[in-house]
């Protein structure tokens, strides 16, 4: 006959396995690895949803498409505001070291709500209307069509970059977030953008 000692080991093992099985739903809620990183992702992709063929040589009245993506890892559903701005090489840019936004006015705003651990990609279609100055000394803009909306760019101009031999313009997107405590949007210290060369006829 099997000894009671052998039975005891079997008893403890079976009881332990059963207890773990039955308690697993409770354990799965208690033994959760805590989240420590809370952040927002911001990215820009080309018209094929890839980080490859971004537009660079921008012709007059030619349409280009990019996608702007936002990934929310803040632990709560977030209310974002995207400010679209345009600048030349000498104008104010967002600074990732000082964590400041550009002082330029936004040309276009769009609000986005993203669930926690959710992502959202927004399409941006744009075309520039511009003219060259005398002897190709600079580029004078008249308007930017962004997602079908005509935006006035009459105060914007680009000078010839003799070093790079281009007319460089920077279209960039700043991310702002709604702060419920302050009841206002705050710069979320994230921006992405694309440099364009306005020398294509």
């Amino acid at each position: 006959m099997t000894s009671l000692h052998e039975f005891r080991i079997l008893f403890v093992a079976v009881t332990g396995i059963l207890v773990l099985l039955v308690a697993s739903p409770a354990l799965s809620r208690l033994l959760v690895f805590p989240r420590t990183d809370y952040f927002t992702e911001l990215w820009i992709l080309d018209s094929n949803h890839k980080a490859e063929n971004y537009p660079f040589n921008v012709a007059r009245n030619q349409s280009y498409n990019v996608f702007l993506g936002i990934g929310n890892h803040l632990g709560y559903c977030s209310y974002y505001l995207i400010e679209v701005k345009f600048r030349n090489q000498t104008q104010s840019a967002p600074n990732s070291f000082n964590r400041t936004c550009s002082s330029l006015p936004a040309l276009y705003n769009i609000t986005v709500f993203v669930a926690d651990e959710g992502t959202r990609e927004l399409p941006f279609g744009f075309s520039f209307e511009y003219e060259y100055g005398e002897m190709f000394s600079g580029v004078k803009f008249s308007n930017l069509t962004l997602n079908g909306v005509n935006l006035d760019l009459s105060n914007y101009a680009i000078k010839w970059d003799s070093g790079k031999k281009v007319f460089l313009g920077n279209l960039f997107f700043e991310l702002w977030i709604y702060n419920s405590t302050m009841s206002s949007f705050q710069y979320h210290e994230r921006s992405v953008g694309l440099w364009f060369n306005m020398t294509t006829f």
Partner: protein
């Protein structure tokens, strides 16, 4: 006589134009004020809806359908703001109205989802947490009782441990 008639005609035309001008300014201002008011109302509605959605989300509700609605409302609000900035007050008013329309009954829907989520969370806790803990404790108790009876049975049979 002719010059007096000419002068009177010019004066009449001038007065007519002058009387039209303030009216058009007043009409434009009224439209701008109306659009501005609609814009503020829409902005407030979007924020209220966002807060209702956040509360439902915190309670563990699946807010994906509400999020779609809120994003649509946000898109209309953005368009209204752009139209207002460019002086197109009619479009601003129209977009603001469409934004409001998207948010009709939003808070009630969010609250319903929140209540449902709270109930589901309670049931989930009852079944999965409390239930499994009670189950685990019951297994330990049954094992101990079984062990006690088994030990007694062995003792009666005269088999040593």
């Amino acid at each position: 006589m002719m010059s007096v008639l000419k002068f009177s005609f010019v004066l009449l035309v001038f007065l007519g134009l002058a009387s039209q001008f303030p009216v058009s300014v007043v009409l434009a201002q009224a439209s701008e004020a109306e659009a501005a008011s609609a814009l503020v109302t829409s902005e407030d509605s979007v924020i209220s809806a966002y807060q209702a959605l956040s509360n439902a989300s915190e309670a563990g509700a699946n807010v994906s359908s509400l999020l779609v609605r809120l994003n649509e409302a946000g898109w209309f609000l953005s368009r209204a703001q752009i139209a207002f900035k460019s002086g197109d007050f009619d479009s601003a008013l129209e977009y603001a109205a469409q934004c409001q329309e998207k948010l009709n009954g939003f808070a009630a829907d969010a609250d319903a989802l929140k209540e449902n989520a709270i109930y589901e969370h309670y049931m989930d806790f009852l079944v999965n947490v409390a239930g499994s803990i009670v189950g685990a404790v019951s297994i330990v108790c049954v094992s101990l009782i079984s062990w006690f009876f088994l030990k007694r049975k062995y003792a009666r049979a005269g088999i040593s441990a």
